[in-house]
């Protein structure tokens, strides 16, 4: 089946099997390997990307379901060569150790801040509760999201922007 998916602002047309999962479409077909393929059972959240404006575990979506829709991956977050404040925050606050969970954590955190620019630590913990950091570095992940909330100059910009 031929599908066209707009990934990080670029249209990609490919012929795929309907059973192909979105995570494998991104990684194997488009070579966008920033999104990680982790548990395969919708538990770990390493594969979280946005489908249109909403985060989704991309191991639990078929690529054909994204036909005609927009996908945003970790590669799509920087703008004009500058990292997103959430990416900066993870660097500033040691929010990653091995880095495997990081793309999913950042995509969910960015979405949280777009909905709620000043989340409490409780709200941050709740937002990432479906994602696993196997290094158990949760404290610094939560700290990173708080840092991003304080240094986020882009929330307003995003709300009025194209969301991509």
């Amino acid at each position: 089946m031929k599908i066209t998916v707009t990934v990080n602002g670029t249209d990609y047309s490919r012929v795929v099997e309907p059973r192909l999962l979105l995570i494998h479409f991104l990684r194997d077909e488009l070579r966008l390997t920033g999104s990680h393929w982790g548990c395969d059972t919708s538990n770990c959240g390493a594969c979280v990307v946005w489908l249109d404006e909403t985060p989704v575990k991309s191991c639990t979506v078929l690529a054909v379901m994204a036909d005609g829709r927009r996908v945003t991956t970790i590669e799509g977050l920087p703008r004009n060569g500058a990292l997103d404040p959430v990416q900066e925050a993870f660097a500033a606050c040691h929010g990653l150790q091995c880095g495997f969970c990081t793309p999913g954590m950042i995509m969910t955190a960015r979405w949280l801040l777009d909905q709620n620019p000043d989340p409490s630590t409780e709200e941050i913990r709740e937002a990432i509760s479906g994602q696993v950091c196997r290094c158990t570095g949760y404290e610094n992940i939560v700290r990173s999201v708080r840092w991003a909330a304080k240094h986020d100059g882009r929330a307003g910009d995003r709300a009025g922007g194209d969301g991509a």
Partner: protein
């Protein structure tokens, strides 16, 4: 690596089109909504449909709307929609209690209410909640629509009354005065299926002191149609006292049939049913009394 078996894929833009596709492909076809129950089952090859009919483009099926005497939930409403719907929480606190502990926040953005019900997993939370609320399901088929009680919707684990040429389109919950409701679940961790869970809806009379009617739903513990019928029968017409509510918990525990598995032994699950049933009844009664206070 978990990959679904080969499957064909069709998109439906309307209920009529989905029904036409179901008629064309027959029993090998399966409706695909959020996919967060079905796709994991397909990856494990526990489900191997020949054709998927994607209904995500049917915008008219995603709604949560009150009428004069009912709350109507479109089958394609997402779990997050239900949790965000103030009107749902105002009338049925049990729904927000349950939604807060269903899967995780990202999964709730995509998983649908109708998909959860049709998957009919014995550990799925909303089936017990809708059974407690004595709701009903609207099912569309080639000959029009029919309404089925939430308590007659499931015919067994992973089985419902929805025929292979039919689809669930709406859930209806009666809005009744003088009621309160609650849901509680014990799980090993966030996103996991429950070890056990209970939900209750009570309708009070005599100034809030007596139970006029009650619905008790149980999840993951082998309760027929997700209902604790004997405990309901016991409570109806009795005073809403600590003693009767605790007794109802005993009765619910006695009549459910949990199995021992990796989530715990059967006697522990019975213990949970006893305790959780009493707790949700207590909370539902207390919420019902608060509602009465506001109304009068």
């Amino acid at each position: 690596m978990q990959v679904p078996a080969q499957v064909e894929y069709e998109k439906a833009a309307s209920v009529e089109q989905a029904l036409a596709l179901l008629a064309r492909y027959g029993p090998g076809a399966k409706i695909l909504a959020g996919g967060h129950s079905l796709i994991p089952m397909m990856k494990l090859r526990l489900a191997q449909p020949e054709v998927l009919i994607d209904i995500n483009a049917i915008a008219g099926l995603r709604y949560i709307e009150p009428t004069a005497d009912e709350l109507r939930i479109g089958a394609l409403a997402r779990h997050a929609d239900l949790l965000a719907a103030t009107v749902a929480g105002e009338h049925f606190a049990i729904l927000h209690d349950a939604e807060r502990v269903i899967a995780d926040p990202v999964v709730r953005q995509w998983g649908t209410i109708g998909g959860s019900l049709c998957q009919a997993d014995p550990s799925e939370d909303l089936s017990a909640a809708f059974a407690a609320l004595k709701g009903s399901m609207i099912i569309h088929g080639p000959d029009g629509s029919r309404e089925v009680s939430a308590r007659a919707f499931h015919t067994g684990p992973y089985q419902t009354v929805v025929g292979s040429d039919e689809m669930l389109t709406e859930i209806r919950l009666p809005i009744r005065l003088d009621g309160g409701s609650a849901y509680m679940k014990v799980a090993r961790r966030i996103g996991d299926w429950p070890i056990g869970a209970a939900g209750a809806a009570v309708w009070l009379t005599d100034g809030g002191d007596r139970i006029a009617d009650v619905g008790i739903g149980l999840t993951a513990v082998g309760a027929t149609h997700f209902v604790a019928a004997e405990a309901e029968e016991f409570l109806r017409g009795r005073p809403a006292t600590e003693e009767t509510l605790a007794q109802a918990g005993e009765i619910a525990a006695e009549h459910c049939r949990p199995g021992s598995d990796q989530r715990g032994p059967a006697d522990y699950k019975r213990h949970l049913v006893r305790e959780l049933t009493a707790r949700v009844l207590r909370l539902a009664v207390s919420r019902g009394r608060q509602t009465r206070g506001q109304v009068s």
